[in-house]
């Protein structure tokens, strides 16, 4: 099987994301994590399929629900986990937390607490690719709820206008917080709407990691060839509520069950086995490894020292002298 190693990598990444978030859920429930937590469990195929189609030097911007995206794009699991704990060695030195995980060395321009804010940033990254004449691409994730948000429109228009090497990936999990489609979206068909901007737009089964991988790969090829942006509407579901405080029980139970039955990991596991890429035992081993790794990461993250409070005054400006003059030190 030619793609065997790719498939195994996709599987491993999905499992990694799942364990990361399961662990985060447990830690949070145990009162060990501060702040907000938006889990993407159920959406792993979209995060992983999309990011795996990118090169390490490609750019990606994510959302408030960004664990899966950022892990798939290569942020260190340890650094991300430590960040959730607010440890000094966290991915963002404990300044960012769950909603702001970034790793510029891996092209991760940041998760983002503001809906659709990643769109213009990605437009700029794609513009800079064109200006620097590299063959990178820039991908931005956003939720279905972002569809009604002005900056998404502005970014789609700009991306087409400048024929940018950009990929729009809509993580369509069917709800904006608790608001269903028919309460936030007047656009009857998102694919037709995106086509109105002149860019190719497709709907993919966002729980099928290979389908997502292929759609993003095609878009990336187009982008690298200088043919401009693409739009992908990736249909998926989040098993949990909007955030950790929300049990998500406002959704029809059957709906949740139906989607759980479409678990992207279990599904891909079956595909792998059917195609004889690996045996169930191999996959169980991957699962066990990732589970183990996550346990260790959690233990280490919990034990990492917290930053001294004075660290709150660091990392704002890159110029140390003018920065200090601007911040002016501590009160009284």
């Amino acid at each position: 099987m030619e793609n065997g190693s790719l498939w195994m990598e996709l599987f491993r990444l999905m499992v990694r994301v799942r364990h990361f978030e399961q662990t985060a859920f447990e830690l949070y429930t145990a009162g060990k994590l501060p702040g907000f937590l938006h889990l993407s469990i159920g959406q792993e195929a979209t995060s992983v399929g999309a990011c795996a189609a990118l090169r390490p030097d490609d750019y990606m911007a994510s959302t408030h629900r960004g664990h899966g995206d950022t892990i798939a794009k290569g942020v260190s699991v340890q650094a991300a986990m430590t960040e959730l704990f607010g440890g000094a060695s966290g991915a963002c030195h404990a300044k960012g937390g769950s909603m702001h995980i970034a790793d510029f060395s891996r092209g991760i321009l940041g998760a983002n607490g503001i809906i659709a804010a990643g769109v213009p940033i990605t437009v700029g990254a794609a513009l800079s690719i064109k200006q620097r004449r590299t063959d990178q691409v820039a991908l931005c994730f956003f939720g279905d709820g972002a569809t009604g948000c002005g900056p998404l429109h502005e970014g789609m228009n700009m991306a087409m206008l400048w024929k940018l090497p950009m990929i729009f990936v809509r993580q369509n999990n069917h709800y904006a917080e608790s608001t269903p489609r028919h309460e936030y979206q007047g656009i009857p068909d998102v694919v037709r709407w995106a086509e109105g901007y002149g860019m190719p737009a497709v709907k993919v089964d966002g729980n099928d990691v290979l389908a997502v991988y292929e759609a993003v790969s095609r878009a990336a090829v187009r982008a690298r060839r200088g043919e401009g942006p693409s739009f992908i509407d990736s249909e998926t579901y989040r098993w949990y509520g909007h955030n950790i405080g929300d049990p998500g029980t406002w959704r029809p139970k059957e709906e949740v069950e139906t989607w759980k039955a479409r678990d992207p990991i279990a599904r891909f596991r079956r595909v792998i086995i059917e195609h004889n890429v690996a045996a169930g035992a191999d996959l169980d081993a991957v699962d066990a490894e990732e589970a183990q790794r996550m346990k260790q990461a959690a233990v280490q993250a919990e034990n990492e020292p917290k930053p001294p409070v004075a660290a709150a005054l660091e990392d704002l400006y890159s110029d140390p002298v003018l920065g200090a003059q601007a911040i002016q030190g501590v009160r009284c």
Partner: protein, 327 residues
């Protein structure tokens, strides 16, 4: 009197006004039941009064406020919610260039019975984009009234007044106050804008504080009292219009002033009060006016760091002691 939470005060004020006046309606993201708003401040309203009175919107703050304005100009009295005060950044043109100015620009033709509610402030490790206190920006905008209550009683009375006013009101709630409790009359009441409330009487130093900082100031005052320092705590409740007289009267008595405001210090609201008081009560001041505000950095995620950046009870105590010449 009933003991209710701040959250309930906000809910009740809205529900009562919706019941009283059919032109009042709520508009914002995710306000309807069963969700009832990100901070549950609209819960049990759409379930009782119907979805027609409580409108869920797309995630489009500029248009939420702009649409509320359009409705207010044409016979309705909208109450728009921005889930987080931070998101007003997506609505600044509507709030400032349109809502605040349309009456003036039209030569007084427009009436703008519009309330914009938003929840702000730190204390929940929500990091840099979900914990800002931006009242200074809003006070810098002529044409808005700005309310920022600290207790359930004030919240309910001021919100009801706001909804009945014919001028636009920006109404700021604090995420850490929603669970706090207080007594509220069983019967209908409203509270006037532009009238400060002296939350604690004192004679040595005046502490002017807003929103959650009122609770911190009261706690500081308790501790200062143990040390023999008598602090007066003034809550202006509305920042525009401001009850300057109440503040000045207190300063003329205590001769010392500490201003506590959760927003970032530089160009924050405390600066305005300091500038106003040093001008109007120059010879009454025995010590420099102290500002206790957030440090000039964004809010960091990590809880200890966040606490360090936000004003604390200890900071207020230290500032008050400083005005007394005690370090």
């Amino acid at each position: 009197m009933n003991e209710i939470t701040f959250r309930e005060a906000i809910r009740d004020a809205q529900r009562e006004e919706l019941e009283r006046d059919p032109t009042v309606f709520l508009i914002g993201e995710d306000l309807r039941d069963p969700w009832g708003g990100a901070y549950k401040t609209t819960q049990n309203i759409s379930a009782i009064l119907g979805n027609d009175r409580v409108i869920n919107t797309p995630i489009a703050e500029e248009s939420i406020v702009g649409a509320a304005l359009g409705a207010s100009l044409t016979g309705m009295r909208p109450v728009a919610e921005l889930q987080y005060l931070d998101f007003v950044m997506r609505a600044m043109d509507s709030v400032v260039n349109q809502v605040a100015k349309v009456r003036y620009m039209s030569g007084g033709q427009a009436k703008v019975p519009l309330v914009i509610r938003a929840q702000g402030g730190g204390g929940k490790s929500s990091a840099a984009q979900h914990g800002n206190s931006l009242e200074a920006w809003l006070c810098h905008v002529p044409g808005l009234f700005v309310a920022i209550p600290s207790t359930p009683y004030d919240a309910k009375g001021l919100l009801k007044t706001a909804i009945r006013m014919d001028d636009p009101v920006f109404f700021i709630e604090h995420k850490m106050l929603y669970m706090t409790k207080g007594l509220v009359p069983t019967e209908e009441y409203t509270l006037p804008f532009g009238v400060a409330d002296i939350k604690r009487q004192g004679s040595d130093v005046t502490i002017v504080a807003t929103s959650r900082m009122v609770l911190f100031a009261l706690e500081a005052a308790e501790k200062l009292a143990l040390d023999g320092i008598s602090a007066e705590v003034i809550d202006p409740r509305t920042l525009v219009p401001l009850d300057e007289a109440a503040i000045l009267e207190s300063v003329r008595k205590t001769n010392r002033l500490v201003v506590v405001s959760e927003g970032v210090e530089r160009c924050g609201w405390a600066a305005e009060i300091a500038a106003m008081v040093q001008k109007r009560a120059f010879t009454d001041l025995d010590a420099p006016i102290e500002r206790v505000c957030s440090l000039n950095v964004p809010l960091p995620f990590q809880p200890e760091l966040e606490r360090f950046v936000l004003p604390s009870v200890d900071d207020i105590i230290r500032a008050a002691r400083l005005t007394m010449g005690k370090v």
